[in-house]
């Protein structure tokens, strides 16, 4: 049973974090990040070849984190596997004891470190959600009964700040109909856009974990604006970090303000510390 689900269902404000598996087999650095974040987070997302760049698989890393006593959110993208591989990895994940899954499209290979790779996208994220939902009902994608089904808590991504909003909202509703029970959002800078998201999604009975990005330095802001899909740092926030004597400290203060506002609106926060992992505890404590 997913503890994340239990907490959200009980109305607890949850905190999730994120770790990236290594590009290699040495798990030391990942475990160090896990230990640091797990002290403050209820569950940790484990990325799946993030940025379309090679990493140890999310499945193996999620299992390693679970073995360390921390609840993972197993991320699965549609980029690298066809429907057979996706289903078979989902069965493997459940058999390993993984209970949360986040189904996302995945960055295009042209944005990653193997730009010559073929993007699979046999399914899109909505279709993948539907497949997982079916497996939770004990059936595979071709409606054949499984010898033992799954019971995943199904999550997906959503993008409160991406316009046009009507398209974004229709897309989100579509995901809910397919079986999504919780959303983790892209980083939010404009709290009004989180409010409109909550207003739209509350009636659908799904949980929303709002994304917070710790904008450690002007360099990080430039990187995000240039390279990260579906995300732009607004000028006012960018100016605030750039003007600060100590940008990292200013970024932490900004994150504290954001989390404080989110506590009043959302069901949880998803913190992306971008290297400032050690500040996560302070952000959470001081935002109370």
């Amino acid at each position: 049973m997913s503890r994340l689900r239990e907490l959200l269902d009980a109305g607890e404000f949850v905190v999730t974090g994120e770790v990236a598996p290594p590009r290699g087999t040495d798990l030391t650095a990942m475990h160090a990040a896990v230990d640091l974040l797990a002290a403050h987070c209820h569950a940790l997302n484990v990325t799946d070849n993030q940025g379309a760049s090679l990493h140890l698989s999310s499945l193996a890393a999620s299992k390693a984190i679970l073995d360390r006593g921390v609840e993972p959110i197993f991320q699965q993208t549609c980029r690298d596997r066809n429907r057979l591989a996706l289903q078979s990895d989902l069965l493997a994940a459940w058999s390993f004891g993984l209970t949360n899954v986040l189904a996302v499209t995945g960055d295009d290979p042209r944005a990653g470190d193997h730009p010559d790779a073929r993007g699979v996208f046999d399914l899109d994220s909505t279709q993948l959600v539907e497949v997982i939902h079916g497996m939770n009902g004990g059936r595979d994608m071709i409606d054949r009964e499984l010898k033992g089904g799954t019971g995943f808590y199904i999550g997906a991504a959503m993008f409160p700040e991406a316009e046009p909003w009507d398209v974004q909202l229709a897309r989100t509703e579509q995901k809910v109909e397919a079986g999504v029970r919780f959303f983790q959002t892209q980083a939010i800078f404009d709290i009004a856009k989180l409010e409109r998201t909550m207003d739209a999604l509350r009636p659908l009975g799904v949980k929303v974990i709002a994304g917070v990005l710790v904008l450690r330095s002007p360099k990080v802001i430039d990187f995000i604006n240039r390279n990260l899909a579906g995300l732009m740092v607004p000028d006012a926030i960018s100016a605030r970090i750039r003007a600060a004597e100590d940008p990292a400290e200013e970024a932490i203060r900004l994150a504290i303000e954001q989390v404080r506002e989110m506590r009043a609106i959302a069901d949880g926060v998803h913190i992306m510390p971008l290297g400032l992992d050690a500040a996560v505890g302070r952000i959470l404590d001081e935002s109370k």
Partner: protein, 220 residues
């Protein structure tokens, strides 16, 4: 239509030289290649002139009405029998189907004069957009006549993905997001529902593979 571009001249020339072809017949196509301005009469004459300038003898030329039509191209072959018989090779300014049809109709070595690119739309002269993957499992009825398989870089049936920003595509940053366009058009037509498209049936895919369409409707 089938959009083509001229093949690199040096590759054409080297191919002819390698085959020992001194005398060449030039065949164009009155359909797509003419519209793309790669294989109409003007381009055929330019190719003929260039061949002669480089020391080849041009035995004749024609622009087939529909070069990918086997019987039509056989007719061209009969009309130009003497000139084709006198040639060592045929240079075909048509798409890959036109080149292969010519090869079937004419018992001579054929050489492609164009590169076949895609199935697309002529936006205006010289500007073409790819529109169809010939996937064999059309969804245009559900997507307001905009193909997500072709025009979304990820080929997603349901979108947009997380890369969309201000209605624009993340991968092809100068283009509107296909899924925003689909949604907008469906809304304008009053038929935007909450439905989603089912996963594609790839067993219907015609590529890779070779397919003959017969009038009885069966794939062979």
């Amino acid at each position: 239509m089938i959009v083509t571009k001229p093949r690199e001249w040096e590759r054409i020339r080297a191919g002819l030289v390698e085959a020992g072809a001194a005398r060449v017949f030039v065949m164009g196509c009155g359909q797509c290649a003419a519209a793309a301005r790669t294989g109409g009469e003007k381009e055929v004459l330019e190719a003929a002139a260039r061949l002669e300038a480089e020391g080849f003898e041009v035995t004749g030329w024609t622009v087939g009405e529909v070069t990918c039509h086997l019987n039509g191209t056989k007719l061209e072959r009969r009309r130009h029998r003497a000139a084709i018989d006198a040639a060592d090779a045929i240079l075909v300014l048509a798409c890959g189907a036109g080149v292969q049809t010519t090869a079937d109709a004419v018992e001579k070595p054929v050489f492609p004069g164009l590169e076949s690119l895609f199935l697309g739309t002529v936006i205006r002269n010289g500007i073409f957009e790819e529109r169809c993957q010939t996937c064999g499992d059309c969804v245009l009825d559900k997507t307001a006549g905009i193909c997500p398989v072709t025009t979304c870089p990820k080929g997603l049936l349901n979108g947009p993905c997380g890369g969309m920003w201000d209605g624009m595509c993340e991968i092809l940053a100068d283009r509107e997001c296909t899924h925003v366009r689909i949604r907008t058009r469906l809304v304008a037509q009053g038929r935007a529902g909450k439905g989603r498209l089912a996963p594609k049936d790839h067993s219907m895919a015609l590529k890779p593979g070779a397919v003959n369409i017969r009038t009885d409707g069966h794939r062979r």
